[in-house]
């Protein structure tokens, strides 16, 4: 049992504990959840400390750190051959920052759940199950294992949104589930296809090992997804392109890209605050991570072929998301659309196929991870107090909630990409990478970089306008004096969650090497894999 396994399965122990304790010990559930997530963050930070940034990983197994390998399922299927599934987990520069981010956001999520009083047993148990699944996704290097965690993640989310959500929770929960499942079921078909196309060079058996799938020489000649001389076509489209598109489609739903984003505003608006935090902070990142780890690493040839389209989708998401955010009257919906816009940068950066661009995309994921978590937490603050979050129902909040206003202002400025905060680094690197792409001949024209910058401008517009509408001017509230007395300023618990997050945004904005130092080698390696096909 290595450190990573402990990290993944620690929440399951918490889950067992929570389930085992009787309902009379209700108040202890949140402490158990808190204790275990703090422990998890400790382990994650320890792993971060001991991670060697020089080792690239990506497609070389021995370069992965904290590696654990055990054979899990060995099935003899007769004519179909042997099914070889490993419990294979490990970290490289791409997964490490996301692991730390997940541990952090999970802790924020538990902190935001402090006042949950509707069946806390089920709530915290599901939260812990979600925690395990998320950690597993980022660690898994076996495609089958990855898929199992990926699907297991859906059940707790469905129930968390469906039971503890808002008015239209049933609709939002099932919509979220169906969208993701639609992507992942077809992903399963591609996984099966890849499985039959790839053999393990050591045993000769077919394998689900992702790293073997990244090596062109492991592909069986003439197999469905074989690298060289592949004449297989489905409906006139080359097989590898189909495989790439299906996998991209599955992860793009998670990112989400326009036009597959419609589940996101619904899910966010209906989900309770902690679940919104986790959704925005971690789950959207699974999409970006999947594109890098799976689509780009396993199908580098197709990545080079399609990057213009991916970048275009990124641009559309940035602009469409931003314009939508501008039009929203519900604060939470606005932030949900801002997520669509910010995640568009991730896609644009990845598609630029330059080291700056992909690093920027990774940085943007991390930065957006805790900033969006902070944003949703801030929405939760007023929603908790007056159960309303309509932008026009509030005015001049600065007068009655000064600390809250300060936090909102800082997080808004950080999110819109003010230099000195983390989002600036991410967005700037993405734009630089996209701008350089033309000289690197990766096929991304310069106007895309300019369109991306327009997105930054738009995000400034909607954030500042919201700030102006809600916080400045004379205090006028829809609910009158009842609201005025309910809207107390941030309490100590809330500050305890927000201040570290804001400081983190500042620290990463000033010392971005904290992240770049760990992921640089891996990004360069990834570029190396794709470069021959450009």
């Amino acid at each position: 049992m290595g450190l990573l396994s402990i990290l993944i399965f620690l929440p399951l122990i918490a889950l067992a504990l929570i389930l085992a304790l009787p309902n009379t010990a209700k108040s202890s559930y949140k402490y158990i959840a808190l204790g275990f997530t703090v422990l998890q963050l400790g382990i994650a930070l320890y792993i971060y400390q001991n991670f060697q940034g020089a080792q690239a990983g990506v497609n070389i197994l021995s370069d992965f750190q904290f590696l654990e390998q055990a054979s899990w399922i060995r099935l003899d299927l007769g004519a179909i051959g042997k099914l070889e599934i490993d419990y294979l987990i490990g970290l490289d520069g791409i997964s490490l920052p996301l692991i730390v981010l997940s541990a952090l956001v999970m802790l924020m999520g538990v902190g935001a759940s402090w006042n949950i009083d509707k069946s806390p047993k089920g709530y915290f148990a599901l939260l812990m199950l979600l925690n395990t699944a998320v950690m597993g996704i980022f660690c898994a290097l076996d495609f089958f294992l990855f898929y199992v965690f990926y699907e297991v993640m859906l059940f707790p989310l469905y129930f968390l949104i469906g039971i503890w959500g808002g008015v239209r929770r049933e609709y939002a929960a099932i919509k979220f589930f169906l969208y993701t499942l639609l992507g992942s079921v077809f992903m399963l078909l591609v996984i099966v296809g890849l499985y039959f196309s790839v053999t393990n060079p050591e045993t000769g058996a077919h394998t689900f090992n992702m790293l073997h799938m990244m090596n062109p020489s492991n592909y069986v000649d003439g197999s469905f997804f074989s690298f060289i001389a592949n004449y297989h076509e489905v409906l006139g489209i080359p097989a590898r392109l189909i495989g790439f598109i299906i996998l991209f489609f599955a992860f793009a739903i998670k990112v989400p890209i326009v036009p597959l984003h419609t589940w996101l505003p619904d899910a966010h608006v209906e989900a309770p605050t902690p679940v919104s935090i986790i959704l925005a902070g971690i789950l959207l990142k699974i999409g970006g991570y999947g594109i890098i780890r799976v689509c780009y690493s396993i199908f580098p040839d197709m990545a080079a072929l399609t990057n213009w389209w991916l970048a275009l989708i990124g641009i559309i998401s940035i602009l469409y998301g931003a314009l939508n955010a501008l039009a929203q009257k519900d604060l939470k919906r606005m932030i949900a659309y801002s997520s669509v816009s910010h995640m568009g940068f991730v896609l644009l950066g990845i598609a630029s196929l330059t080291a700056e661009g992909i690093s920027g995309a990774m940085f943007q994921m991390i930065s957006h991870g805790f900033l969006s978590a902070a944003l949703f937490f801030l929405v939760g603050v007023i929603y908790d107090r007056v159960h309303d979050r309509y932008i026009y129902n509030f005015r001049g909040l600065a007068g009655i909630m000064p600390k809250y206003t300060a936090c909102v202002a800082i997080v808004f400025f950080a999110s819109l990409g003010l230099p000195g905060f983390s989002a600036f680094i991410g967005e700037a690197f993405v734009i630089i990478g996209t701008f350089n792409a033309q000289s690197m001949t990766t096929g991304i024209p310069r106007w895309m970089a300019i369109a991306g910058s327009a997105g930054i401008f738009l995000s400034a517009a909607y954030f500042l306008w919201t700030l102006q509408r809600m916080f400045f001017g004379q205090t006028r509230l829809q609910g009158g004096t009842a609201w005025a007395s309910a809207l107390t300023d941030l309490n100590r618990r809330e500050l305890l969650i927000l201040v570290p997050t804001i400081s983190l945004a500042l620290i990463l904005g000033i010392v971005p090497s904290l992240v770049f130092g760990k992921l640089n080698a891996s990004i360069l390696k990834l570029i190396d894999i794709i470069n021959p096909y450009i």
Partner: protein, 487 residues
């Protein structure tokens, strides 16, 4: 003349050991009739005990036959891994269903057990023969037994109607099938569908007649398997029959018919001639239609049992896909069958528990019950997850294996039919999520109107269903334990 007779006698005597489990079944059948007639007055559960004991005996004899490959009774009785495993699955599920019936219908039930044993015998015949005559006898045995079982406990009009519909529909299908068989026999002069003469006859026959004969034969098998368009009886019968009998209908007869169909398909689809091609296309079209119609129709159901009926139609489509890919190794087929049986039995056990509690099988009667019965509904939700085919459950492994088998199907990469099957199989999984998840949706997400605090008292059936749920997860995480049995 004399030597011929001796030869035949010799062969029959030599074949008897292959027939041991069935002999045990017949003995059990006869004893259970007598015990229900005479012993019930002395000891109420005598027939029940007899049935269980005979099933155990059959199971024991079947375990002896594992690994054997032999034919008997002039090639009409086949004992091979396909039949042995199928019969073991059948006997095990019959065992559970017997317990199920005993707990739900404790009085006046003596004859039910003997009828159940007869049905089991019928499915045994179906799964171990390649002879049309025996196959037809098997189908009729199962069908007649099923008609009786459906109608046996009928208390109201709906149940009687279900039984009547079933019997009428079944007899017509059987008649059509018999007509088809007479055509096939006329064309080939041989009753063994695996024999060379049989295939030769089909090759030489005019295309029109072959198409017609195949279609007619399909009608009979289609009725037992419940694939489109012969599925129309299932929803009414599943809903109308007592839940324990529905559990029987959705599992045991299907396994038998499926094995027969797998044998038939394998031997007929392997030639390059017209009838093979035709059969393949029938199969693909029927599989796709069955998956789509089963899953789409289930979306609109308000009753859990009716929904399960459409769900089992959908799973039949999936099983047809598995048969389409079936070549030499049947391991994946058995894995999916076991998964299917396990999931269905568990689902019906839960439906029955809730029926006892609320007196209804309507899905909206589950509203808000998740809070009152958290363990039951968590387990039920896991069964639903398995039925959709999501990890980490046995349903997922089963689906994965069928997809794998289909994908690896010889030279299938550019085969439109295979791609189409895979895509529809994946798509219907997504559709099925929608209706299976209505159960947790109502249980956990909706508020309940009834405020009764009444709980389900722990009972044997509840423990059985929990055990099944644990098995679903266990085999989902460690499928090797199950599939190694079939190798």
């Amino acid at each position: 003349m004399n030597t011929a007779l001796t030869n035949i006698l010799d062969q029959i005597i030599n074949s008897v050991p292959l027939f041991k489990p069935e002999l045990a079944l017949i003995t059990g059948f006869v004893i259970s009739i007598f015990s229900s007639l005479f012993l019930t007055k002395i000891y109420k559960h005598s027939t029940y005990i007899t049935t269980l004991l005979s099933l155990i005996a059959v199971g024991y004899l079947l375990f002896d036959q594992i690994g054997q490959t032999a034919t008997g009774f002039s090639e009409s009785w086949i004992v091979d891994p396909l039949s042995s495993y199928a019969r073991i699955i059948i006997v095990l599920s019959a065992f559970v269903i017997t317990i199920f019936i005993k707990h739900r219908h404790s009085c006046n039930n003596g004859d039910v057990y003997s009828v159940l044993l007869a049905a089991v015998l019928g499915t045994h015949v179906l799964s171990s023969t390649s002879n049309w005559l025996l196959a037809f006898i098997g189908i009729e045995m199962v069908s007649i037994a099923s008609y009786i079982l459906v109608g046996y406990f009928s208390k109201n009009k709906i149940q009687a109607e279900a039984a009547m519909k079933y019997a009428l529909f079944g007899s017509v299908c059987a008649a059509v099938m018999l007509y088809g068989l007479s055509l096939v026999y006329g064309l080939t002069g041989d009753l063994n569908f695996e024999a060379t003469a049989h295939l030769q006859g089909l090759m030489d026959a005019p295309e029109l007649i072959v198409s017609l004969a195949l279609l007619f034969v399909f009608v009979g098998i289609g009725f037992k398997l419940g694939f489109v368009p012969f599925h129309v009886w299932t929803p009414d019968v599943y809903q109308g029959a007592p839940t324990s009998i529905t559990a029987f209908l959705s599992t045991i007869p299907k396994v038998g018919a499926l094995i027969l169909f797998a044998r038939l398909y394998r031997s007929w689809s392997s030639t390059d001639f017209y009838f093979s091609e035709l059969l393949e296309w029938y199969m693909v079209v029927v599989a796709i239609a069955t998956m789509l119609i089963g899953n789409l129709a289930a979306l609109r159901q308000q009753d859990a049992k009716r929904m399960m009926a459409y769900s089992s139609i959908g799973h039949t489509g999936f099983l047809l896909m598995a048969i389409y890919a079936y070549q030499d190794s049947a391991a994946f087929l058995f894995f999916y069958i076991s998964a299917y049986v396990l999931m269905n039995l568990a689902a019906f056990l839960f439906i029955d528990q809730l029926e006892q509690r609320t007196g209804s099988t309507a899905i909206n009667s589950y509203a808000g019950l998740g809070k009152k019965m958290p363990i039951l509904f968590t387990a039920f939700s896991l069964v639903c997850i398995s039925l959709v085919g999501l990890p980490p459950t046995i349903g997922f492994m089963g689906k994965l294996m069928v997809f794998s088998a289909l994908f690896d199907f010889t030279g299938a990469y550019d085969n439109t039919a295979v791609i189409l099957l895979l895509a529809v199989g994946a798509l219907t999984s997504v559709i099925s999520l929608f209706f299976y998840f209505r159960i947790p949706l109502y249980a956990f997400l909706r508020k309940s109107e009834d405020h009764a605090k009444q709980r389900i008292a722990p009972n044997t059936l509840l423990y059985v269903s929990y055990a099944f749920t644990i098995l679903l997860i266990f085999f989902g995480l460690f499928p090797s334990f199950l599939i190694d049995l079939f190798n």
